[in-house]
Symmetry: C2
Subunit: 495 residues, 2 copies
């Protein structure tokens, strides 16, 4: 299946004319400045699309996709583009379908424990609305203030609370989807459970826009917890912190958050947020929620476990203000890293940065990350949702030095390899996109053939977000190629 380049088939003017007739002239652009903006997401890559369109409903999307399918033009659905794996980029050209205008919360049905939204609704906006009823949608990505529900579903995103409350997939009850042939389907009824036939709902969750465009999402919601207890435990050794986590998980407590930050992260946070946290090798942030008596008992037990495992200090609190301060620090941890050093030393969200291992293997994984860091003489700042084994080792490099990129690439590949050897995964919550496509065979060599058959069954012309998840070819070694493009502008360019 070949994806023709739209420019060869149609004049730009004709393309604009057709898309404008489907939507509206002011909702289509081939303007250079606009296309430049849409050539970025939160990844290291850059690829210029041929056009951007802002549809307002499923019918418009159906007509756009039907047209694109006829001309074999790639279609790339896009939310807030907060993804760091290049999933929202037009790596093979084509039309970006920006879904941010479809941002209505359509129905809040509290008795049914359900909410129905358009894909462009922002996570924080949804939870603000649900909060009025004392409910929430738990999976909270780091980008929750900006990312859209559509993007979360497409990437099966999660975050801080997955350890207790699960990931986006666990909350999706029903989807409306525009298929590549333009047909609009609903994947199931809006009920809390059903056992009827193949689970298309969860086939679309995490499919990264490669099977169709999600135009409506019905989510299960949960009652908001009202009481929280938080513990901060510091360790003089990252591995000890990992062992404490194993003991906590074994104890029968289900923390609502269980995060780790290493010294580099803590230093960065202290510097930016002025939190005066002890700059220990490993810091655990642990939270429980529930009934006031229950959380008090649980946080006491957690504190004892941390002390038994050799914590240098453990501080517990049920004060909401204290809690807010701590979480602000945790949430700023990535941004803080960017400001830690000289402007050209930056964290690179591309190499080995979102792995998962079984919880019992966390200490080994942490050890390996330290070894890899030393071996390549490269800074790696680790944090992560350690309670479910999801670690974010972030490699920091001088982005102006080609050698640093090569080192980061090699270190990242070793991190992936180690995670898989420990029975883990290369991707916990940031999906695959372009960045990790070259590594997918490491984990799923025997599955890709079946993925391709499913892809073929839904999208025979490969118009939906081509070049992602390792389903088809991408430029050779895109990881370095595209990353360079961003930093050595004008010299190379993948678009």
């Amino acid at each position: 299946v070949t994806a023709f380049n739209v420019i060869k088939m149609l004049s730009k003017e004709k393309l604009v004319e057709i898309l404008s007739a489907i939507t509206a002239p002011e909702r289509v652009s081939i303007d250079d400045a606009e296309l430049y903006c849409y050539s970025y997401d939160a990844s290291v890559h850059r690829c210029r699309p041929d056009a951007v369109v802002w549809p307002e409903n499923a019918e418009e999307i159906s007509r756009i996709v039907r047209f694109a399918n006829e001309y074999r033009i790639p279609v790339i659905p896009r939310g807030a583009a907060t993804g760091d794996m290049g999933g929202a980029l037009a790596i093979k050209g084509g039309i970006i379908v920006d879904l941010t205008r479809m941002n209505k919360i359509k129905e809040v049905r509290i008795e049914d424990l359900q909410v129905t939204v358009e894909p462009g609704v922002v996570f924080a906006q949804l939870n603000q609305e649900l909060g009025k009823y004392g409910f929430f949608f738990p999976p909270e990505p780091g980008s929750g203030d900006a990312c859209t529900i559509g993007g979360m579903v497409a990437c099966n995103a999660s975050g801080l609370h997955a350890v207790k409350y699960g990931v986006t997939r666990d909350y999706v009850l029903s989807l409306e989807v525009v298929l590549p042939n333009g047909r609009i389907i609903r994947t199931g009824p809006k009920v809390l459970k059903t056992a009827t036939g193949y689970d298309l709902t969860r086939l679309f969750v995490g499919s990264e826009g490669t099977l169709g465009i999600i135009t409506e999402i019905t989510l299960r919601i949960r009652p908001l917890p009202r009481h929280f207890a938080t513990a901060v435990a510091t360790f003089d050794d990252l591995i000890k912190a990992g062992k404490a986590v194993s003991q906590i998980m074994k104890s029968g407590i289900v923390p609502s958050a269980l995060e780790i930050m290493d010294k580099l992260r803590i230093q960065a946070v202290n510097q930016v947020m002025n939190l005066a946290l002890p700059e220990a090798e490993g810091t655990l942030l642990i939270e429980v929620d529930g009934h006031p008596d229950a959380i008090q008992e649980e946080i006491n037990l957690i504190s004892r476990i941390c002390q038994d495992e050799g914590a240098v200090s453990v501080v517990c609190s049920t004060d909401p203000k204290e809690r807010e301060k701590l979480w602000a620090g945790r949430k700023a941890a990535y941004a803080a890293l960017i400001r830690l050093y000289k402007p050209h030393i930056k964290p690179i969200q591309a190499f080995g940065n979102d792995i998962v291992v079984p919880v019992s293997k966390v200490p080994l994984m942490l050890q390996s990350i330290q070894d890899i860091s030393r071996k390549h003489n490269i800074l790696i700042a680790t944090m992560g949702h350690i309670g479910d084994g999801n670690l974010h080792p972030t490699i920091m490099i001088d982005v102006t030095r080609k050698e640093d990129w090569e080192k980061a690439k090699a270190a990242g590949a070793e991190i992936y390899q180690t995670a898989i050897e420990l029975g883990g995964s290369i991707a916990g919550e940031h999906a695959i996109g372009i960045t990790r496509a070259p590594f997918i065979e490491l984990e799923h060599a025997d599955l890709i053939e079946h993925w391709k058959r499913i892809k073929q069954a839904f999208d025979p012309n490969n118009i939906m977000n081509p070049g992602k998840i390792g389903l088809d070819t991408i430029p050779k070694d895109p990881l370095v190629f595209l990353a360079y493009a961003k930093y050595f502008e004008g010299k190379t360019d993948a678009a």
Copy 2:
């Protein structure tokens, strides 16, 4: 794609020879008595297979399936055959693959919150083992003492605790599957979360053995709750009970069970179990679990809500013995029905007996069931997991009367139609099998084409459990045809 009849291609002796060479002579049978036994499951249907084989590992299954694929012989995976939709029956002949010898709990990894089992492990056996560590696998079907984990995964089963703890699908982390071509794949790493490519794990969950044979299952487990509070609330009107449920779900409490029984069920239970429950029109059994202080507050609030909604009586208890008695009653409710009347008046688990509607629509659905019962002058005993909108209206008929079967069939179709009109589903937790295949188009007319493409991608020769889920043709009106076969033996027979 045609499924040849095995008997036409191979002599029976040759079939036994080949299967014996793959497994062992004592683990293959074409004996009449054996095949007679395997022509039943818990459904109303009866279909005689051509052979039964008892494999002991994935390699044997791979070789069986490879052979069957070559000769286009249907292969029907079977656990405890507790399903009431005919999913484990050889409706097109073929080889039953009995998985009950593969009943090892392979690994209990508490720190990782995981357990890995073979498909033939019985639900109760698994929870007995996990209980030693203070953990459990929550979805508890009514048949939990007998049903296998493999069957639960194949059918996405659930039960009493789904309202708080979710369904089987929510706990499956990774599967080993033998595909129809004999290849053995693993659908993902054994980790608590991953976001890599298409979710084959959940595509196999609920696929009812039509895509491959599951040979190993890794489940997430949860800490066992240690304290429970139970409330029994009676109402003089089934609809009022439904409204109380809506108010409970809105309150922010998440009950660990929320069941309804109508008068017929209660009468049956009282008669069999000697429980002396008040024989009201509608009885709610409500349970919460958690910290002792939390559950006391919650059960008090639930009691208040029931009273506000007009309950005739509300009795609360935190006494474990009282709790055990109540749940024994609930669990015996179906068996009790069978004993309620003369021997030939029986509950028929075939027609409209496992629907789901949004919780807010439960009162309307209960009203409709009563109307349908009156209209057809037929007994319908309703109970169900009302907290997640899953109702089990059980039609009772004189099984010796053809007219009763016709009435039940018509009433069942109206129940399905109503559930769908209320935004619900025809199947909550008992899957589709043969029984509901004729009704699948009611709910999923626009999805079946896509299911068929997925089926084709995995099983091009249609050897895996053919005739199920509405994916291919079955004998005309099998519902009545096969049901009759069971009760009018010798006159008609589908096998």
